[in-house]
C-alpha cells in the first residue's frame, strides 16, 4: 500500500466481525489504507466484500472491530465517537428511501441536524443547505414520500453537510437511483468536494462510478483489499490481480 503524506484518515490492520464466539463472522480481515486530505478514495467490491462494513466501523456503527483507525492523527476507540468526530466525519447512506425518517419533513431533518451540530441561525442555514444541494425552498416542508429518489438523496447529502464536515463517507450513494439521476448526484458530489475541499471515501460495486469519482481505488474481496489502483490505471486496464480483471470484465461485458 502506497504511503500518503499527512493522511487525513489512516486505517491500519482493521478487522471487523459480527457475533462473538462460535457464530463469529469475519466481515473485514486486516484492511489498511490511508487517505490524504482532499483526496477521493474508492472502495469497490461485490456484496459481502466488507466494503460498507469498513465505513460502519469508522463511524462506530459496527459492533466489534480491532486495529487502528486515525482521523487527523487522533485514534478512534470502541464504538463511541466524540462530538468533534461527528463534526468532522459524516456519512451518506445507500438507500435514500431508508435513510430519511418517514414522519419528518425535510425541514425537521435539517433543523434537528443543525441543532445537534450546535449551529446557530438555523433558519438561514436550512435555506443555504438546500440551495447547496440544488433544491429550492419549496421542498423544505415536504415529507420524504413527497420527494423523488434523487431529491431524497440530495436531502441526505444536505444533512451530511450540515455540520460542515471535512470527510464524507459515501456508501453506494447512487446505486438505488436511475442513471440520469445518478449523473446529477455524482456531479453534485464532485462540485461540493471542490467547493468545500472535502475528503471522500466512496464505496460502490460499480467500477465505472468509482473510477469516475475517485483518484485511488482499492478493490475488495471477502474482507480483504486485493489490489490498490490509481483511477487512470484502471481506466487504461492496467491491473494485475485476476479478481480486478474479473470485475472489469463483468462491467464491460
Amino acid at each position: 500500500m502506497s504511503e500518503v503524506k499527512n493522511p487525513k484518515l489512516s486505517i491500519h490492520d482493521l478487522k471487523v466481525w459480527f457475533n462473538s464466539g462460535r457464530d463469529k463472522v469475519d466481515a473485514v480481515k486486516s484492511v489498511s489504507f490511508e487517505v490524504a486530505e482532499g483526496e477521493s478514495f474508492g472502495l469497490v467490491g461485490e456484496s459481502g466484500s466488507g466494503k460498507s462494513t469498513v465505513l460502519r466501523a469508522i463511524t462506530g456503527l459496527a459492533p466489534y472491530w480491532s486495529g487502528s483507525c486515525k482521523i487527523d492523527k487522533a485514534s478512534l476507540t470502541g464504538r463511541r465517537r466524540s462530538r468533534e468526530f461527528f463534526r468532522k466525519v459524516q456519512m451518506v447512506f445507500q438507500d435514500p428511501y431508508a435513510s430519511l425518517h418517514p414522519r419528518h419533513t425535510v425541514d425537521q431533518v435539517l433543523s434537528e441536524t443543525l441543532y445537534l451540530q450546535g449551529i446557530k441561525d438555523i433558519e438561514h442555514n436550512i435555506v443555504r443547505l438546500l440551495s447547496n444541494v440544488g433544491l429550492t425552498s419549496k421542498f423544505r416542508f415536504r415529507f420524504p414520500h413527497q420527494l423523488s429518489g434523487g431529491q431524497r438523496q440530495r436531502v441526505a447529502i444536505a444533512r451530511a453537510l450540515a455540520g460542515q464536515p471535512e470527510v464524507l463517507l459515501l456508501d453506494e450513494p447512487t446505486s438505488a437511483l436511475d442513471v440520469s439521476v445518478q449523473a446529477e448526484i455524482l456531479n453534485l458530489l464532485n462540485d461540493l468536494r471542490n467547493e468545500q475541499n472535502l475528503t471522500f471515501i466512496f464505496v460502490s460495486h460499480n467500477l465505472a462510478v468509482v473510477t469516475h469519482m475517485c483518484d485511488r481505488i482499492a478493490v475488495m474481496r471477502q474482507g480483504e483489499i486485493v489490489e490498490c489502483l490509481l483511477a487512470d490505471q484502471l481506466g487504461r486496464g492496467e491491473i494485475s490481480h485476476p479478481y480486478s480483471a474479473e470485475l472489469l470484465e463483468a462491467t464491460y461485458g
Binding site: S47, V179, S180, A208, H212, L248, G253
Partner: protein, 280 residues
C-alpha cells in the same frame, strides 16, 4: 407471436387517474426484445399487463393483446391460467420473494414439474436435476435439498429461471432478472438465460433499466419514457440512437475508458411526454 395494440394502464389516485402506461403498441416474434426505461416509465407494468397480473383498482385497457391470434383480454381467468406460466412465463426481480421459504428447492421444482406434466415422482426428480444442470448448477442434488434462504442470490435466480422453463413456454418475460445480483453474477445469469432462450427458440421480453445489459442480450430495444415508447432501435445500433432521451441516458453513464470531470446530465424535454408513442 405476441401483439399489443394501444395498451393503457391507469391508477386512480386522490388527484384523479394516474396514467402509468399511455397507449403503447408493439409486437414480439421469436426474438429477444428489450424494454428499457427509468423507474416510473411503466416498463414493469407493461410486462405484468400482458399476463393480466395487474389487479383492481388499476385499469388496463388495450385495443387488443393477442397471443397466437387469441385476445388475452377476452379470456376468462381460468383460461388465462393455462397461458400464464405455461406458455408465457415471467421471471421476477428478486428470487427471495418468488420461492416458497418453507419448502426445499427440490420439492418446489418437482411440484412445478408435475403440475405441468403427467409424470411419476422419479421422472420429475430426474428432470429437476437436468433443469438445474441446464442453469449451470454444479451440484444439483445438494441444491435440491436446500431451502431458499440457504442459496445465494445468483443461485436463487438461476433456480427461478429453471422453474420458469419447466413447462417450455413460448415467451419468457424477465423483469429486471439480474438487478438484485452482483455484477459478475449478472452476466453469468444473463448468459444462461440467453442460451436457453436461443436454444429453444423462445421469445424473450427483457425489462431492465440497464442499457448496456439490454443492448448486449437483445435484438431489438424499446425505450420507454413516461408511459410511452419514445424510440425503437436495433440493439446493435443503440449507440446511434436518435432520440435525445436515449442519447441522454447513454451519455449520463460514467465510462471507464474516458474520465471526464463532469458527467452529462440528461435534460428532460416536456415535448417527449406529449409526443406520440412509437410502434415497436
Amino acid at each position: 407471436m405476441l401483439c399489443i395494440d394501444n395498451l393503457w394502464v391507469k391508477f386512480p389516485t386522490s388527484q384523479g387517474l394516474f396514467e402509468a402506461v399511455r397507449g403503447i403498441s408493439f409486437s414480439l416474434s421469436h426474438e429477444r426484445l428489450g424494454i428499457v426505461g427509468e423507474s416510473g416509465s411503466g416498463k414493469s407494468l407493461t410486462g405484468r399487463a400482458i399476463l393480466r397480473l395487474i389487479r383492481h383498482p388499476a385499469i388496463v385497457k388495450a385495443n387488443y393483446i393477442t397471443f397466437h391470434e387469441q385476445n388475452v383480454l377476452d379470456l376468462k381467468e381460468k383460461e388465462m391460467r393455462k397461458i400464464r406460466g405455461r406458455r408465457i412465463s415471467m421471471v421476477m426481480q428478486d428470487p427471495k420473494f418468488s420461492l416458497n421459504p418453507v419448502m426445499t428447492i427440490g420439492s418446489q421444482i418437482i411440484e412445478a414439474y408435475r403440475q405441468h406434466n403427467q409424470a411419476s415422482y422419479k421422472v420429475a426428480f430426474r428432470n429437476a436435476l437436468e433443469m438445474l444442470e441446464a442453469v449451470l448448477i454444479h451440484d444439483p442434488e445438494r441444491v435440491m435439498r436446500c431451502y431458499p434462504h440457504e442459496v445465494s442470490g445468483g443461485m436463487g435466480q438461476r433456480i427461478m429461471i429453471a422453474m420458469m422453463l419447466i413447462p417450455n413456454p413460448e415467451v419468457l418475460i424477465a423483469d429486471e432478472p439480474t438487478s438484485a445480483l452482483d455484477v459478475s453474477v449478472q452476466r453469468q445469469v444473463m448468459k444462461i438465460l440467453d442460451n436457453l432462450v436461443t436454444e429453444r427458440g423462445m421469445g424473450l421480453i427483457l425489462i431492465s433499466h440497464d442499457l448496456n445489459l439490454v443492448s448486449e442480450f437483445c435484438d431489438r430495444i424499446l425505450i420507454m419514457y413516461a408511459g410511452r415508447i419514445v424510440e425503437v432501435c436495433d440493439a446493435a445500433k443503440l449507440r446511434q440512437a436518435s432520440h435525445p432521451y436515449t442519447q441522454g441516458l447513454l451519455n449520463s453513464l460514467p465510462r471507464l475508458s474516458e474520465r471526464v470531470p463532469r458527467l452529462t446530465v440528461l435534460q428532460r424535454d416536456i415535448n417527449w411526454t406529449e409526443a406520440a408513442s412509437v410502434r415497436g
